[in-house]
Symmetry: C2
């Protein structure tokens, strides 16, 4: 099989677990004799919110476990790593349903946001809670007998809190309705990115697979964190870059970070380099929906050569991250785990 | 000490644990070098939302453990039972912050709802998440070494899900903005009450204390559920009754269940007894803010003798619940646990 074929097969195998898990959760609700109307509501909630993403986070659990166990996974291990992968997708759904309300977003993955759906509204908040609760139902169902069960549960708790702290910082730094660039800084951007994205997107999938592989040494988890968190930061900075400079046909959406007052890497770099005149223009034009305002911001980015700065950052990050990976003690955790991530994201265009 | 003095002392001792826990959680955030502004935000969130309730649920953990262990608690056991009590108060805060948004409520415990506070708004959703996360931080900190640690964690997960399912049923049965009494029924009311209130308010405190007391027999937990869930139902029906017929000076608020389209015991009894003419009036007047509409509903309650029906229900419940308690196998779990609850709530006026 070519690598593309095997990737497609991995996606297919992963995807097939989703309806099974959904059905198991709905069954858990049905045994309480809940009105079928409520069961159907939960089914719609799950299908609308958990499905339809790129599933990179979920797939990473399976990929990582394969590397850690030299591609020798039993059918049971394969299934269980996919369940953990879906638990991350469920966690993400929990966050995104709430994030869309808090950001007043309209669409997500090409569909209306859940809270924008007819008859849903603020009930979406409780629906987000239910998505989170499903994670612990799956963990109990599939891992209760395993010695590392409590580690999985604690890991989800910990990463959930990290992400919530990142969200808090993001929400209070860049409120959706009030522009104040003096609240932004490169350091704060780093904090936000680390907490609201890197932990659950990069560290969590690998740490879950490590538990499944029987790794117990705290040093191994520390080593994984030391590489995966900076990798996650790099990934999010790419995301910020692509939002402004990516090809909408390739990334599948038109970026609106400037309009949405996002605490993006680009604006923080611009703020650090801006002259007093440019700063005044940034203050006056950032976070506004009018294309004229957006054009002013983009022009300043151009004048300050922010794109060039990004390219330099990208090169440096590549060198620095590969260096970090090379320095990892391969007996603690296989370097290939991190190389696999690097290969997926370095110089990505979408 | 008189029973009133010892009650006051128990409340004081319980209350004193709150700032300690809050500080421990804030410290956990501070070690990440989070901006002090964010730490202060979380502190405000906790003080606004976790504090200021009657603390009945939290105190019940301590009271129950005292009964289960013949009043022989070590200082450590006392502290740990108070921590569990506060975990319930934190759980309730998580639910209430979200519930107030979903119900478009204005005030809570005499203060503005958290989401109504200046600068908060929808950030309250993420703040609710953080309150929930704190529970698992406390459980880990205080119980990690205990053999029943995973039982506590699973219990909180399970009860959280039950409550969310109850909320879902409540929200879809009685949406805040759309009156449709055909969605109501006595059976549905029972379901809603059981799931959204009884599990976390009655079963949870006792089950937590049971775990601390070293009870392992599934039959004992089943026995506790069999009494505490009906007791919780009875408590909520009292609540529905007091909302309409209680003395506002005593209950500390003016009831608005009729105005708010609540799926209350009273309206469900009225719907079951109403003539076609009365039903028409109920449909036309329920869930409206105008005192004239409310008066029509109250008159129908009077004509249908709903208050008398309630008194009969109360008498019957008292007999039935005491019967259930008497039938409990005292070697599984001491009956006194349930009697203590009965004494607190039977014929309460607030
Ligand atoms: Mg968003
Ligand atoms: Mg956001
Ligand atoms: Mg982006
Ligand atoms: Mg409410
Ligand atoms: Mg409500
Ligand atoms: Mg009430």
């Amino acid at each position: 099989m070519s690598s593309q074929e095997s990737k497609a097969q991995a996606v297919k195998d992963f995807t097939e677990v989703f309806p099974v898990l959904t059905e198991e959760f709905l069954k858990e609700v049905r045994i309480r004799n809940f009105p079928e109307e409520s069961v159907k509501w939960i089914e719609k909630n799950i299908y609308h919110n958990v499905q339809g993403g790129k599933m990179n986070r979920g797939l990473s659990v399976v990929d990582t476990l394969k590397i850690l166990k030299n591609d020798q996974l039993t059918a049971e291990e394969l299934l269980k790593s996919r369940v953990l992968g879906w638990c991350i997708e469920w966690l993400q759904a929990f966050f995104l349903v709430a994030d869309d309300i808090m950001d007043s977003s309209i669409t997500r993955r090409g569909n209306p946001c859940w809270y924008k759906m007819e008859g849903v509204g603020m009930i979406a908040i409780n629906d987000a809670f239910i998505l989170e609760s499903a994670i612990y139902f799956f963990l109990k169902k599939y891992f209760r007998q395993d010695p590392y069960y409590i580690d999985l549960v604690e890991l989800f708790h910990e990463i959930t809190l990290e992400t919530e702290l990142g969200q808090l910082l993001d929400l209070t730094t860049a409120p959706e309705d009030h522009v104040d660039l003096s609240k932004f800084s490169i350091e704060k951007h780093q904090f936000i990115v680390l907490y609201k994205t890197a932990f659950y997107s990069f560290y969590l999938p690998v740490a879950l697979a490590m538990h499944m592989a029987g790794i117990k040494d705290e040093k191994a988890f520390k080593a994984a964190k030391d590489i995966l968190l900076p990798l996650g930061e790099y990934f999010q900075i790419q995301d910020d870059y692509l939002d402004c400079y990516g090809d909408p046909k390739v990334i599948g959406k038109i970026g609106t970070d400037i309009e949405d007052n996002k605490c993006s890497w680009l604006i923080n770099q611009a703020l650090a380099k801006a002259s007093p005149e440019q700063r005044k223009l940034l203050d006056e034009n950032y976070g506004k929906k009018d294309p004229k305002n957006v054009a002013v911001i983009k022009q300043i980015y151009k004048d300050l050569e922010i794109e060039k700065l990004y390219k330099e950052y990208e090169e440096q990050s590549y060198i620095r991250l590969n260096d970090l990976i090379l320095q990892t003690d391969d007996s603690l955790i296989k370097r290939q785990v991190f190389n696999a991530f690097m290969n997926k994201i370095y110089k990505r265009t979408k």
